[in-house]
C-alpha cells in the first residue's frame, strides 16, 4: 500500500519539479537571438528516439566539422514532447532539433515551440514528399514547421498459410474482409482476423483517414472539428458491427495476450503500417515466413486509398540559436540519398522521401523473405495516402478515443461505437472552446 503512496509522491514531486520549472514562464517565447557568423563552429543538440539515429548522424558529423550534431536519446514521442513543452515554457533547456510525430505539430506550433522554416533551404524539399505528408508539416498554410522523416502507410498483413488452408482469397474490399473474418472465426472459434483496439488512437485515425476523414481543419480564423462525420462514422459503425457479431476480437493490441495470439495463429491478420515487420519479428518471431502483406481492403475498389499510422518529422525549436544550420542538417538527414539509405538500414524506418524509399528499399525485410515484392506493395500504398489535418488538441481527442472506445469495445455493440464517435467530437470541441480557440 505504501508503495502506491510512494508512487503518488514521486508523481507529485515530478509534477512539482515540472511546475517549478514552469515558474519562469513569461517573456521567454519567440525565436532566440541568431548566431550569424558563418565560420563559427556550431553545436546542435537533437532530441530523438528513432533507434540508432546517432549512427546516421555520425555520417553527418564526419563530413561537417563546422556543424556538430549531438543526438540526445529520448524515451519516445510523448515524453519528448512533454519535455520540450516544459522547456519552452521555462524559456530555456530546449534542444535545437526535435523528432516530432505529425500529430504533435499543431500542439507544438500552438505553444510557439517550432520555428517556421519557410525561409530556409528546407523549403526546397517540397517535391521530395507525397502531398499528404507535406501538408501535415505546413498545416496547409505558407509556413513550414518541420521536414518529414518517416511515414507509416497502412497495409493489410495476414497469415498466408492459414488463408490457404481455409481456401480464402485475400480481401480487397471491406465487405470481403468482413466475410473472411466470419469464415475464420467459424472455422476456429478462438481465431480472429483482427481485433479492434481501443488503445491505439493512431490506428483508428489511419483507418478514418483511409475512408476520407480529416478531423481538424482551418476555416479562415477558426478551427473546425470534423470527427463525427460520415467517413469516421462509417468506419466506427463497420467495426462496431463486426465486434457486435463477434467475428472480430475486442481486446487491445500490444498486450501479452495479443502477442501470444499472433504467435499461435489465433490472430490471423493485422491492419498495420509499413513498420509492422519489426513488430511482428519482435512479438511473433516464430511465425517468420508465414505472413504476407497486401494493400488495405478498400471502401471503393475503384479509388484505392490508405491511411497513415505513425511517422515523424524533424523540427527546429524556437530556442535554437542556429536555425539555418539546423535546417541544413534536417534537410540532409531526410532527403540526401546517403542519409535516407542509412535511416532505412540502421534505424529501420520507412522514409517519407519518395525517391529515397524507392532506391533504399529493394530487398524485403527478413521477416518477409517469402515475399520479394514486399516494398512494391508498401510503395504503392504510400502513394495513396490522403491528406489529414491534425489540430491543436490531438492529445485530448486521442485520450477521448481511448476512454470512449474502451467502453464501446467492452459493450460490443454497433450503437456504442457510434456514440463513442460523438463523444470524441464533443470532448474535442469543448476542450478547444474552453481554452479560447475560435471553433466553427
Amino acid at each position: 500500500m505504501r508503495r502506491s503512496f510512494r508512487a503518488g509522491a514521486v508523481a507529485m514531486i515530478a509534477a512539482a519539479a515540472l511546475l517549478t520549472a514552469g515558474c519562469s514562464t513569461g517573456s521567454g517565447t519567440g525565436s532566440a537571438e541568431q548566431n550569424t557568423d558563418p565560420n563559427q563552429k556550431v553545436e546542435l543538440t537533437y532530441w530523438a528516439w528513432a533507434p540508432n539515429l546517432d549512427k546516421v548522424v555520425d555520417l553527418w558529423n564526419e563530413k561537417n566539422p563546422n556543424i556538430h550534431v549531438t543526438v540526445n536519446k529520448q524515451d519516445g514521442g510523448d515524453p519528448a514532447i512533454t519535455k520540450l513543452l516544459t522547456a519552452v515554457n521555462a524559456g530555456s533547456g530546449a534542444p535545437d532539433l526535435i523528432q516530432a510525430e505529425y500529430q504533435k505539430i499543431p500542439t507544438l506550433v500552438a505553444a510557439d515551440a517550432l520555428v517556421d522554416l519557410a525561409d530556409t533551404e528546407a523549403k526546397e524539399t517540397k517535391d521530395n514528399f507525397p502531398e499528404g505528408v507535406w501538408n501535415s508539416v505546413t498545416l496547409g498554410g505558407e509556413a513550414l514547421y518541420a521536414v518529414p522523416q518517416d511515414t507509416g502507410p497502412m497495409a493489410f498483413y495476414y497469415r498466408a498459410d492459414i488463408f490457404e488452408g481455409l481456401g480464402l482469397a485475400v480481401p480487397t474490399t471491406w465487405d470481403e474482409y468482413a466475410a473472411a473474418a466470419k469464415t475464420i472465426h467459424d472455422a476456429d472459434p478462438e481465431a480472429y482476423l483482427g481485433t479492434f483496439s481501443s488503445n491505439d488512437a493512431g490506428w483508428f485515425t489511419g483507418m478514418a483517414q483511409q475512408a476520407g476523414a480529416s478531423w481538424w481543419g482551418i476555416d479562415g480564423d477558426a478551427w473546425s472539428v470534423k470527427i463525427a462525420e460520415e467517413p469516421t462514422e462509417k468506419v466506427a459503425g463497420y467495426w462496431g458491427g463486426l465486434v457486435e457479431q463477434g467475428t472480430i476480437d475486442n481486446k487491445p493490441m500490444y498486450t501479452p495476450e495479443w502477442n501470444a495470439a499472433l504467435n499461435s495463429g489465433k490472430q490471423v491478420g493485422w491492419l498495420s503500417a509499413a513498420w509492422a515487420p519489426g513488430v511482428l519479428a519482435g512479438n511473433a518471431g516464430a511465425t517468420a515466413g508465414k505472413w504476407k502483406v497486401a494493400p488495405m481492403p478498400q471502401w471503393d475498389a475503384a479509388k484505392p486509398a490508405t491511411g497513415n499510422w505513425g511517422g515523424s518529422s524533424t523540427a527546429v525549436t524556437t530556442q535554437s540559436k542556429n536555425v539555418a544550420a539546423a535546417a541544413k542538417f534536417a534537410t540532409w538527414l531526410n532527403t540526401s540519398p546517403e542519409a535516407v539509405d542509412a535511416l532505412v538500414k540502421v534505424s529501420n524506418i520507412y522514409p517519407a522521401d519518395t525517391e529515397g524509399a524507392k532506391t533504399a528499399l529493394t530487398a524485403a525485410p527478413e521477416f518477409f523473405s517469402n515475399q520479394p515484392d514486399f516494398y512494391d506493395v508498401i510503395g504503392k500504398a504510400a502513394q495513396n495516402v490522403g491528406s489529414f489535418n491534425y489540430g491543436p488538441n490531438v492529445n485530448v481527442a486521442f485520450n477521448a478515443y481511448n476512454d470512449q472506445f474502451a467502453k464501446a469495445a467492452q459493450a460490443k455493440s454497433r450503437s456504442a461505437f457510434l456514440e463513442a464517435v460523438d463523444s470524441m467530437q464533443q470532448v474535442t470541441v469543448e476542450d478547444l472552446k474552453k481554452t479560447g480557440f475560435t471553433v466553427k
Binding site: R3, S4, F5, G8, A11, T107, P256, N399, N402
Partner: protein, 324 residues
C-alpha cells in the same frame, strides 16, 4: 510513538534551566537549535511549501488563446478565479473516480488489515514454527515495486496467457476474466493486498513484540487460552498501531495510481480517469492542462486531510484512550 516524538524537545528543556542567562546563552539556546533545524526547514520550504504554494497559484490560472492560437503571442495565462475548482468539483468523471476509490478502499482496507492482524498474531503465538521465514515470505511482496507487481498480476489475469485459466480450461471450468468491468476493482485490490499485507503485518507484529511478557504470563496463570489472550489482550494493546495502519492505508487508497495505470492497456475496462490521481495525471500530462490538474490536486489534498482528521477524531479516543 508519542514518547519518541517528544524526545528532542524534552531534552532541550532539561538542559536549559539552571543555567545563568548570559549573552552567550542566546547562541546556545536559540541559534544552535535553529542552525540544526535549518536543513530540515530549508528542505521543507523548497520541496513541500514552495510546490504547494505554486500549485495553489496555478490552480487559479488558466490558459487562454485567441483565434487559431498558432504562433507567437497567441497564448497567454490569465487569472481564472474559482473556474478550475468549479469545473473540477462538478466534473462527473471526478465524482465517479472518487466513488470508485471509496468502493476500492471499502474492499481493500478491511481485508488487508484483517490479514495483517491475523498473520501478526499467528507469528506472535507461542506455537509458531519457522517464524522468521514466514515473516520474510509475507513481507517480501512489499519489496516489489507496484508497477512490477501489477505487470506480474496482469499476466496472471489475462485469460490468453494466464496459467490459472489454462488449468481451469483443462478441467473444464469456465473462469470469469478478472479484467471484466465488474471484477476489475477486485483485480486491483488484490494486487494492493498482495503488496500491502506484509508491511502492515510488520508494523503490528513489532508492536506486539513490545508488549511485556509478564502480561501474558498473568493471563496464562488466569487460565486464558491463546485465542482469548489474542482477542482480549493483544488486540486491545496494539489498537493504536492498527489505527495508524488504517490511516496510512486510507491515504494510500485515495492515492491509488500505479496499479490501475499499469493494468489499463491490458483491457477495455479501465478509463484514464479511473482514480482521482489518474485524472490529475491525465489532465496535466495527456491534456497539457496543468491548471485544472492543480485545482483537482488541491481538492484531493484537502479531502484526504479532512478524512484523516475525521477518522482520527472518531477512533482516537477509543484507541489511545488507555495510553493517556
Amino acid at each position: 510513538m508519542a514518547a519518541t516524538a517528544t524526545m528532542p524537545g524534552s531534552a532541550e528543556k532539561t538542559a536549559a534551566p539552571g543555567r545563568p542567562r548570559q549573552a552567550k546563552n542566546f547562541k546556545q539556546r536559540v541559534l544552535t537549535p535553529y542552525a540544526m533545524l535549518a536543513p530540515g526547514i530549508v528542505l521543507f520550504l523548497l520541496f513541500m511549501a514552495a510546490p504547494i504554494i505554486y500549485t495553489l497559484v496555478l490552480s487559479f490560472q488558466q490558459k487562454k488563446v485567441s483565434g487559431l492560437g498558432l504562433g507567437k503571442g497567441a497564448q497567454s495565462t490569465v487569472f481564472a478565479g474559482f473556474d478550475n475548482y468549479v469545473r473540477s468539483l462538478t466534473d462527473p468523471e471526478f465524482g465517479a473516480s472518487v466513488l470508485r476509490v471509496l468502493t476500492y478502499g471499502a474492499i481493500l482496507i478491511p481485508l488487508m488489515l484483517g490479514f495483517a492482524l491475523l498473520f501478526a498474531l499467528l507469528l506472535d503465538s507461542r506455537r509458531t514454527r519457522a517464524g522468521s521465514f514466514s515473516r520474510t515470505a509475507i513481507f517480501l511482496p512489499y519489496a516489489v515495486p507496484a508497477v512490477i507487481s501489477s505487470l506480474l498480476w496482469g499476466f496472471l489475469y489475462l485469460p490468453g496467457v494466464s496459467p490459472f485459466h489454462f488449468v481451469a480450461d483443462k478441467l473444464g471450468i469456465a473462469l470469469p476474466s478478472l479484467l471484466n468491468p465488474d471484477l476489475i476493482i477486485f483485480a486491483i485490490a488484490n494486487i494492493a493486498l498482495w503488496g500491502g499485507v506484509g508491511f502492515n503485518m510488520i508494523v503490528m507484529y513489532t508492536s506486539l513484540k513490545a508488549v511485556p511478557q509478564e502480561i501474558y504470563e498473568a493471563a496464562k496463570l488466569d487460565g486464558a487460552s491463546e485465542i482469548q489472550t489474542a482477542l482480549r489482550i493483544k488486540i486491545p494493546i496494539i489498537a493504536p498501531s492498527v489505527v495508524m495502519t488504517a490511516l496510512f492505508s486510507m491515504i494510500a487508497t485515495l492515492q491509488v495510481f500505479a496499479e490501475p495505470t499499469t493494468l489499463r492497456p491490458l483491457a477495455n475496462s479501465l478509463s484514464t480517469s479511473w482514480s482521482p490521481l489518474m485524472l490529475v495525471y491525465r489532465d496535466a500530462f495527456t491534456r497539457n492542462d496543468v491548471y485544472s490538474a492543480a485545482a483537482t490536486s488541491i481538492v484531493i489534498a484537502l479531502a484526504t486531510f479532512a478524512i484523516s482528521f475525521l477518522f482520527l477524531r472518531v477512533v482516537q479516543k477509543r484507541a489511545f484512550g488507555q495510553e493517556n
